[in-house]
């Protein structure tokens, strides 16, 4: 701050009054210009500052100011300090006649006495993509990869091992795991390694943010000769694909168990729906589709796919997520698959 003031001005820390602890004010500085013009800046320091935090921050600052003698208040200004202050927060602060200072070069300092108005424009994008800003959503690739890696595996997993299995960076993995731990979906040891995963709850949480037709690009098409014909043709299909939803349920069920619903809709991940539609002889249709060609949002859908009877199926966890968010009676099919997994993996009971 000294660097933006004239060299002959002084700036000094003011000891806080006794009542000022818990006031939200972290420091008070007095600026003295020539001819004894003196003013004060009240500073609040925040780790992160988001628009929704502002009313509370400003309220506590005002409460502090209301206790000051009128004369002092007339010579005072406010500054909020944070590692980064976004354009939106700056806009809101400006409307409240409050200054800011961040380490990305943004500064506004205004004082009625001595009269100061300094406005310096720095970065408009956060230069510190906040590794410690808590993640709130499981939308997106990295979260999907971690969630899938947790559900496909079982038991103890080190953080690095998990990150490498999932194909994401250790930092990203750590942010996702923090969210999962906060929501009690995984248990961790003091070193951060995963000791247990509540897979049923984790699945329920993931599908709040993931949806088979929302997250991916799904194209409904018609197999005029029925879905069995498509299954037949897929055995010789050269392209990459993984069958999901009801077809996967049927593949994973032991022969002595009947699926809770017949296969009415054949859903499969393909790299390119247009090519797959052509190569498999499927027709575009407005209604009556019985095949769903899905271009995946990420290759994770193919992760841990298994081959059965010369056909490839997504991992059970991917099939469950797709069933839970897909059309029709698929929630009941998902429940059947979860029940089946729980017989060999108790983490699916929780």
């Amino acid at each position: 701050m000294r660097s933006v003031l004239p060299p002959d001005w002084t700036i000094a820390h003011v000891p806080e009054p006794a009542w000022s602890s818990d006031t939200g004010i972290d420091a008070v500085y007095e600026i003295e210009a020539a001819e004894n013009a003196r003013g004060r800046i009240h500073i609040a320091i925040k780790r992160h500052l988001e628009p929704r935090d502002l009313p509370r921050v400003l309220r506590v600052m005002s409460a502090y100011e209301e206790r000051l003698p009128g004369e002092t208040l007339r010579r005072s200004g406010r500054v909020i300090v944070a590692s980064y202050i976004s354009p939106r927060v700056r806009e809101l602060l400006a409307a409240e006649h409050t200054g800011w200072f961040d380490s990305a070069g943004n500064l506004r300092l205004q004082l009625p006495q001595p009269l100061i108005f300094i406005d310096r424009h720095g970065a408009d994008r956060n230069p510190y993509p906040a590794p410690d800003r808590p993640l709130r959503s499981l939308r997106g690739r990295a979260a999907a990869r971690i969630v899938r890696a947790l559900m496909d595996g079982q038991g103890y997993r080190g953080v690095r091992e998990l990150a490498s299995d999932a194909g994401v960076s250790a930092a990203t993995s750590s942010r996702v795991l923090d969210l999962l731990a906060r929501e009690s979906l995984v248990e961790r040891d003091p070193g951060g390694a995963i000791t247990a995963t509540r897979k049923r709850s984790l699945m329920r949480r993931w599908v709040e943010d993931y949806g088979v037709t929302l997250s991916n690009h799904a194209v409904p098409v018609l197999a005029a000769r029925g879905v069995d014909r498509v299954l037949h043709d897929l055995r010789d299909y050269p392209g990459r694909y993984s069958l999901t939803m009801g077809a996967a349920l049927q593949a994973y069920l032991p022969p002595e168990r009947a699926a809770v619903a017949p296969l009415a809709l054949l859903a499969l991940y393909v790299d390119n729906a247009v090519t797959a539609q052509r190569d498999l002889g499927l027709r575009a249709t407005q209604r009556g589709a019985n095949v769903l060609l899905i271009e995946p949002f990420d290759d994770v859908v193919h992760q841990n796919a298994t081959a059965r009877d010369r056909l490839r199926y997504v991992s059970p966890a991917q099939a469950i997520a797709d069933l839970l968010t897909g059309p029709g009676r698929s929630a009941e099919e998902a429940a059947q698959l979860i029940e089946l997994l729980a017989t060999t993996d108790p983490e699916w009971n929780r």
Partner: protein, 277 residues
Amino acid sequence: MTVTNPTEYVLARQVLLDVLEALGPHRDAVVLVGAQAVYLHTGDADLAVAPTTTDADIALAPDLLHDEPLLEAALRSAGFVPGANPGTWHGTSHIAVDLMVPEALSGSGGRRGARLPVHGNRVARRTVGLEPALVDNRDHELQALDVTDERTFTIRVAGVAALLVAKAIKVKERLDQRDRLKPKDGLDMLRLLRAVEAEPLARDLRRLSDDPLAAGVTTEAVAILRRHGGEPDGELARLAVRAVGVLDDPDVVAASFAVLTEEVLAAYDALPSAAIR
């Protein structure tokens, strides 16, 4: 549409016939409800959403049950094994049969199991909303779908009005716990509304709302339809839209739901209640 029945449905029918056979003299107390009953009214729908699941939902009228044979003994000797919850039994291929007693007739005490004198507390489950099924039902002849199985039983199948009430009550219970809401419940309601004309459906609903056993849940179901069903963006239409997903035009599904609900409610409101007749 499907010409041959999927294996799952052949097995489902077989298990349903198995349970009817096992119930023997208790068959008079049985009313088929749930998705299989809906399917008997609506048939195959014109979209790739399985019209029913394999599990059979059966409502029991406790006053029509005999003292012998004991339900549990009869089911066990026919090869059914009890599931984790009261009232759930598993037959061939692990297909589930759920025996349920309407809440109003389930006796007092116990949270999930229906209190059935002689037959015990775990053989059937207490279920809210099934009361109308014991009032609104019709005999239906059920045959095996496998040509080598010659069994045929005549059983009572819940009517469209009773099934609509049961679904509405189920959705209402789940509205409070949104992650338990099942889109297919909305779709089943739409299929039921499409299966019959508004007037006869309204007459059946009115008859149920005048029946001492069914009145409570029926008036509640009508209120649910009024509150959540009459608008394309209402809870019920939105559930049906979610159930068809990308397989059908969401606007058509939502609008159909709202229009059909409105028609039934208008016809219902035009009918005098027995109380004021």
